[in-house]
Symmetry: C2
Subunit: 307 residues, 2 copies
C-alpha cells in the first residue's frame, strides 16, 4: 500500500466514468458502422416516480453515446405472467441487444422470478440470478453495475487486489454480496460485515481496502480506517443541512464521514462524484458487452470446468 | 460459545445424516401414497470411472429411500448442443422431478452452460448458476449440497450463526463461496480466505467457527484454532500410511490435523463420518424439495423485493 499522506488522494469517479463513456461511444460507433446497432429496451412496470426519473436520465445518457433506448411501460396491475412473457419476448427478439427491468416493481410481482426471465446475455444490469451465479462461479458474463464500479475504482489506483485484505461493510443482495464475490474472484481476502457484526471496526481497521454500502450517513469514521487504506463509499444519502444564512438545504453524502476519514485514508471516493457516475458508466459498458455477446463477437464462457 | 473442554465434542455427521435419510424415506412414502412419485434422472457424459462409481452409489442410496433413479449415458464425444438439448428435454418432461449432471464432463463441454440448462426447480445439486444466484439473493430455492451440509452440521450444535465470526478457508465455486454466502445469509460475519491470503491463521484464530475446504491434509493445525471454536472439515483426502506391521495402507483424512485440533476445539467434524455423509443426505433432501416444487406443494420464492 502507499505511504500515508497528510490527506487522502481522491479517486475521481466522475473523471474515470467520463473516460469510459467516451470509450463506449467509440465502440458503439464502430458497431453501428458494421451494421450492428445497440438497442436497449427498459421495462417499467407501475407508477414509481423514482423509477421514471431514473428512466429519463438513462434515456438521455444512452442517446449521448449512441445507444438506441426505448421504454416499455406496463400498468401497476400487471401480472407476473404478463411481465415475464414480455421479458421472454424481448429475449427472443433479435433486434433487441439489451434488456433492463426498472425497480421497484408492483407488490404482486416477485422481482427475482422476473429477473430470471431476462436473457442471460442481454441482462445489462447483471441482475438475472444466473448472472449472479456466474460471478460466484468465478467467470462473470455480465456482473452487477455497482459491484463492477467498485472494483474498477479500486483498480484505477493501481493497487493489486491479489492477497489484499478487504472489508465489505453491508451484505445486500445486489451490492454487498456481488461486490465481495468479484473482489474474492480477484484474489482478495474479503470479510463481509452486516448489521449483526459484533465489531465492524475490528475488521475494517486491519484492512487494506474498506468498501461501505449501507445507506447510513457517517457510519464509517476515522476509528474504522487504518492509515493509508483505500476507502470506497457506495452510500448515497440525502440529508438536510443548514447553510451559512441559517437556511435548510439538501446535500448528498455517503456512508463515510468524509472530512475526518480523508485525513487518515490513502485513497477515498467522494460522494457525489465517486461510485455514482461509475455505476452509470458500467451500465453503458455492460450494454456494449451484451450487444457483443448477442452478435457473437464475444463468448459468454471462457474455459471452465468444475473445481 | 461453549466452554473449552479438554477434548472437542464430535459432530457425528453419520448419525445426523442417518436421521435425515429416515425422514426423507418417510416423505417419499407419503408423496408416493398421494400418487406423486419422485423420479431422479442422472446424466453421465463420457467415461469417467469416478463418476460411474459415484452414480452406482447414488442409485443404491436413492433406492433405499424409495426415490426412482435412472441413469442416462452419453458418449465421450457428445456435443454441447446434444447435452443441453437432453437437459432441456428433462426440464420439460413432467414425469421427471429431479435432474443431476455428473462431473467431470468431457473437455469439449462447458459445465456452467449445461448446468444453466438444468431446470431451476429440478436441480437437486443446486448447481444451476441461477440457483447459486438465488443463494446470493438471500432466498435459496435449492442450494448446493455441501454448503447445506456445512450449515446443517453447524446448526446441529445449537450455536447461533447470527453475529458469529466465521472463517471460510477455501474459495471454490461450488463449496467455499456458496457456503460463505449461506452463512452470511444467516447473519454470520464471514471472511473468505484463499490461496492468496497473507495469514490465514490470523483470521481463523479470532473466529467462532472455522470451515476448511481446500483438499490439503493437515492444512489446519492447533495454531489456527481458538480454544472452544467449532471446526468443520470438508476435505476428503486419501493418504498412504504405514500400519503397525510396517505395511502401507490407505486412509481417508480431512484438511484438519484432527488429533491436535480436537484438543483445543469446542466441536469438530471427523473425516470420514462428518461432512461426507451429510452431503449425501442433503442431496436426498434436495431431491424431495425439488419434487415438492415440481408438484406445486412448495413455492420456490418467498416474498422478496430488491434491497
Amino acid at each position: 500500500m502507499a505511504q500515508h499522506a497528510t490527506s487522502a488522494a481522491l479517486i475521481d469517479g466522475k473523471a474515470i466514468a467520463a473516460g469510459i463513456k467516451n470509450q463506449v461511444a467509440g465502440e458503439v460507433r464502430e458497431l453501428r458502422a458494421a451494421g450492428l446497432p445497440i438497442r436497449l429496451v427498459a421495462v417499467l412496470a407501475g407508477q414509481s416516480a423514482a423509477a421514471r426519473v431514473y428512466a429519463e436520465n438513462q434515456a438521455r445518457t444512452c442517446t449521448e453515446v449512441g445507444i438506441e433506448y426505448s421504454l416499455r411501460e406496463l400498468p401497476q396491475t400487471v401480472s407476473q405472467e404478463e411481465l415475464d412473457a414480455l421479458l421472454r419476448g424481448l429475449a427472443a427478439d433479435k433486434t433487441v441487444t439489451g434488456i433492463m427491468l426498472h425497480m421497484p416493481l408492483p407488490p404482486q410481482i416477485n422481482a427475482q422470478q422476473s429477473q430470471y426471465a431476462i436473457d442471460l446475455l442481454k441482462d445489462v444490469e447483471g441482475v438475472n440470478p444466473g448472472n449472479i451465479g456466474h460471478v460466484v462461479y468465478g467467470h462473470s458474463i455480465i456482473a452487477p453495475c455497482t459491484a463492477l464500479a467498485v472494483v474498477t475504482l479500486i483498480e484505477s489506483t493501481g493497487i493489486s487486489l491479489r492477497g489484499a485484505e478487504v472489508t465489505m461493510i453491508g451484505a445486500s443482495r445486489i451490492t454487498g454480496k456481488p461486490t465481495a464475490l468479484l473482489l474474492a474472484e480477484r484474489g482478495a481476502t474479503v470479510t463481509i460485515c452486516d448489521i449483526n457484526t459484533r465489531d465492524v471496526a475490528e475488521h475494517s481497521r486491519r484492512s487494506d481496502v474498506v468498501v461501505v454500502a449501507v445507506g447510513k450517513p457517517g457510519l464509517v469514521g476515522v476509528g474504522h480506517i487504518r492509515p493509508g487504506a483505500l476507502v470506497i463509499d457506495v452510500g448515497i444519502n440525502r440529508i438536510a443541512v443548514m447553510d451559512a444564512a441559517g437556511k435548510e438545504t439538501w446535500r448528498t453524502v455517503g456512508d463515510v464521514a468524509f472530512e475526518e476519514v480523508r485525513r487518515v485514508a490513502g485513497w477515498i471516493t467522494p460522494v457525489p462524484g465517486g461510485v455514482g457516475p461509475m455505476t452509470v458508466a458500467m451500465l453503458l459498458r455492460n450494454t456494449v458487452r451484451a450487444a457483443r455477446l448477442v452478435y457473437g463477437l464475444e463468448k459468454p464462457f471462457g474455459n471452465s470446468g468444475p473445481d
